[in-house]
Every structure is written in structure tokens, then in C-alpha cells.
């Protein structure tokens, strides 16, 4: 065991919180204007703008729906996963 329980960040040890997901955000790339509004609000920091479109890392996305809620273009839809 680590001395005094001191640990180091290791993303490989991260629980894949994608398994929490109940609803899944789907970016409608045709609607997405790449405005980045959703990016900083995602609690899991899973959204990146790739080629001017929002892209979600489903390994960690918990499906909260915050992104969909804040998107000015209504480009994200929450679907039952």
C-alpha cells in the first residue's frame, strides 16, 4: 500500500463514470455552431470542440444533460442510452 495513503493522479485508475449514464447526450453536428457554451459547464469536462463541433468523451460523460440545457442552438439531445 502507498505510504500514508498518499496517491498520485493516474487516469488509468479513474472509474469510468460513463457507466453512470442513464440518458445520453447526442450532438447534432448539423445544428452545432461550435460556440463552446457547453464546454466549460460540463461537470465532467468531457466536451471538446473538434473541427468546430462539440465532441463528447463518453468514457466519463454521466449523462446529466447540462450541455443540452445550456446549448443555445439546441444542438444536443438527451436520449435514453
Amino acid at each position: 500500500m502507498e505510504l500514508g495513503a498518499i496517491i498520485k493522479h493516474d487516469q488509468a485508475k479513474a472509474p469510468k463514470t460513463g457507466s453512470w449514464r442513464y440518458m445520453k447526450p447526442e450532438v447534432d453536428k448539423s445544428k452545432c455552431i461550435g460556440c463552446s457554451t457547453c464546454v466549460p459547464y460540463c461537470p465532467e469536462a468531457t466536451i471538446e470542440i473538434v473541427d468546430k463541433k462539440a465532441e463528447i468523451d463518453f468514457e466519463y460523460c454521466k449523462g446529466c444533460g447540462v450541455c443540452a440545457q445550456v446549448c443555445p442552438a439546441k444542438a444536443i439531445l438527451m436520449k435514453k442510452s
Binding site: 493522479h9 485508475k13 464546454v39 466549460p40 468514457e59 454521466k62 447540462v66
Partner: protein, 301 residues
């Protein structure tokens, strides 16, 4: 995962889906502009980010207990000072505490007060979700008047919490802190500016950041931004700063919405919309008007 946003606090943490504080933590840390050490009081942020064997923290991080984060950072900061003097550490470093409202307004207040008085060079960030959320939603002295919690439940003889919120901003200000500000997770540019200013100020600084809790305020997981916005739009949570004793309101609604717009979004206030509790609702609106007027007056405008 988003690289820019995960330089300090990474996903894999176990905060509730739709929780607000991860956004606060990483936004603040991004403004440190260099090495930063974090101390964290026991609470939701701490418990959800350091579940052995995984830590979400990519920067040096220490959690000791619930009530002593400020004393803990005092030790770290002074260690840095002397070890720098002795040439044993080289890098200029910033020091940040994250504490929940319980760990700040209540059980950690004395530790904070002592650290402010001694003048350590650190930023204290209180993410305020108005209650002890980690333990399942008991009242704190930050819980809004009228809110139902597990220890201030509604009942035949109760309309929820009957005491008004402690005014932490004023208490911290009374310590002669050079820069302190009230911010909101919904307004990130404002939060960033404030964090930056705080980091640039020598000595203790303080941020009080509004942080909705989907789980215990009882609203859908998708709503934290909307609800946080409403808090400022109703003047429930004004955005202001106090710099060298001078008050400044950063942005305020020109035509504030009635506070009920904010309250009705959350289960914890549901009971206030009964006929019986109308007076409580009115009382709350009055309190909010008074407090906003008080701050506005202090800005000298």
C-alpha cells in the same frame, strides 16, 4: 476529455451527475497561472475527488479534516516560505483552499479567521451549496431562510430553516482582507476575473461561489446553470467584490425577477408555495431587497 479543462481536476470523480462544483474548482485553478497547491476541507468535493485508489487532482493536494483546511494551508504556505528561504524549494507557488459552506461558515470559520488574521498568502474559495451535502443535506448557517433540509424539515410547526444566512462576506471583510468577491458558477467570465484578481493580490483573499446541488436542492441534473443564473437574476445572489474595502457590484439585473422564480425551481423550497407559507415567501423577497440595497448603498452609487 477536454485537455484545457482538466489540467488540475480530471474526470473520473464521483460528484453527482450535474453537480456544479467541478466547474468552479477547475475554473479557479486555471487562473493560478503557475504552480498551485490545493487544500480541501471534508465535503462533497473532497470525497468525490479522492476515492482511493484514484485521485482526480493533478496538482498537489491535501485533505486533513473538515474544520481545518485554513490551518492546514497555513502550514503549507509557511513551509514554502522557509524552504524557499533555505533554497530547498524553487518555485513560486499559489495556495488555494476549497471548502464547502459547512466547512467555511460553520466548523471551519475559526480556522479561516485565524489564517486571515495571520495574513497567509492564499486564496480561500468557498463553494456554497447552502448545506451539508456530503452528509445528506443538513442545515448549515449558509442554508437560505425557509429552505427545507433534513435537520430543518417542514412540519406542522416548521416552514424549514428559521434563521437567516450568516453573512460570510461581511465577516471575512471585517478581517481586513484586501480582495474578496461573491461569484456564481453560472457566470464564468466573472468568476475567472475574480479568481485572477485574487491570485494577484498578496495576502489572504476570498471567493464565495454559488454552487447548486442537484441532489439535495432537488432539481433535475441538467439545470444547475439555469438555476444559478436565476439566483443572480433575482438578486438572490448578487455578484460583487470588495477591493481594499471598496464595494463594487459587477453585474446586476436591471429589472430583477421576483425571487420566487428562483425558489420554485427547487424541491427544497416547494413548501413555500403553499397558502400557509405565503408570508414566508414575502419575507424572503423583502430580505433580498434589503440586502441588495445594502450592498448597492455601500458601492457608493
Amino acid at each position: 476529455m477536454n485537455k484545457d479543462l482538466t489540467k488540475h481536476h480530471a474526470p473520473g470523480h464521483s460528484a453527482c451527475a450535474g453537480c456544479a462544483f467541478p466547474t468552479i474548482a477547475r475554473t479557479v485553478l486555471n487562473e493560478a497561472g503557475g504552480p498551485v497547491v490545493v487544500a480541501n476541507a471534508t465535503g462533497c468535493l473532497e470525497v468525490t475527488s479522492t476515492l482511493y485508489p484514484y485521485t482526480a487532482w493533478k496538482v498537489p493536494y491535501i485533505h486533513s479534516a473538515f474544520e481545518n483546511a485554513s490551518a492546514t494551508i497555513s502550514g503549507v504556505e509557511r513551509a514554502h516560505k522557509i524552504l524557499s528561504q533555505k533554497g530547498k524549494v524553487k518555485k513560486e507557488t499559489k495556495f488555494v483552499v476549497f471548502g464547502g459552506d459547512g466547512g467555511t461558515y460553520d466548523i471551519g470559520l475559526q480556522s479561516l479567521s485565524g489564517a486571515l488574521e495571520r495574513g497567509h498568502d492564499f486564496l480561500y474559495v468557498c463553494y456554497d451549496n447552502g448545506g451539508y451535502m456530503n452528509t445528506g443535506n443538513q442545515r448549515s448557517s449558509a442554508t437560505p431562510y425557509g429552505a427545507a433540509t433534513e435537520t430543518t424539515p417542514t412540519g406542522k410547526q416548521s416552514f424549514g430553516k428559521m434563521e437567516v444566512r450568516k453573512n460570510l462576506m461581511e465577516i471575512v471583510k471585517a478581517h481586513g482582507v484586501k480582495y474578496l468577491a461573491q461569484a456564481n458558477v453560472a457566470n464564468l467570465p466573472d468568476l475567472k476575473k475574480k479568481a485572477k484578481k485574487a491570485f494577484e493580490t498578496k495576502g489572504p483573499t476570498f471567493l464565495l461561489v454559488f454552487s447548486p446541488c442537484t441532489n439535495n436542492w432537488k432539481f433535475p441534473t441538467s439545470e444547475y446553470v439555469k438555476i444559478a443564473k436565476l439566483a443572480t437574476e433575482t438578486n438572490f445572489w448578487p455578484l460583487y467584490e470588495i477591493e481594499n474595502g471598496k464595494y463594487k457590484i459587477n453585474t446586476a439585473p436591471t429589472d430583477p425577477k421576483p425571487v420566487s422564480e428562483f425558489l420554485k425551481t427547487q424541491g427544497r423550497f416547494k413548501h413555500l408555495f403553499s397558502e400557509k407559507n405565503k408570508p414566508v415567501l414575502e419575507e424572503i423577497q423583502k430580505m433580498i431587497n434589503t440586502e441588495f440595497a445594502r450592498i448597492a448603498e455601500l458601492t457608493g452609487n
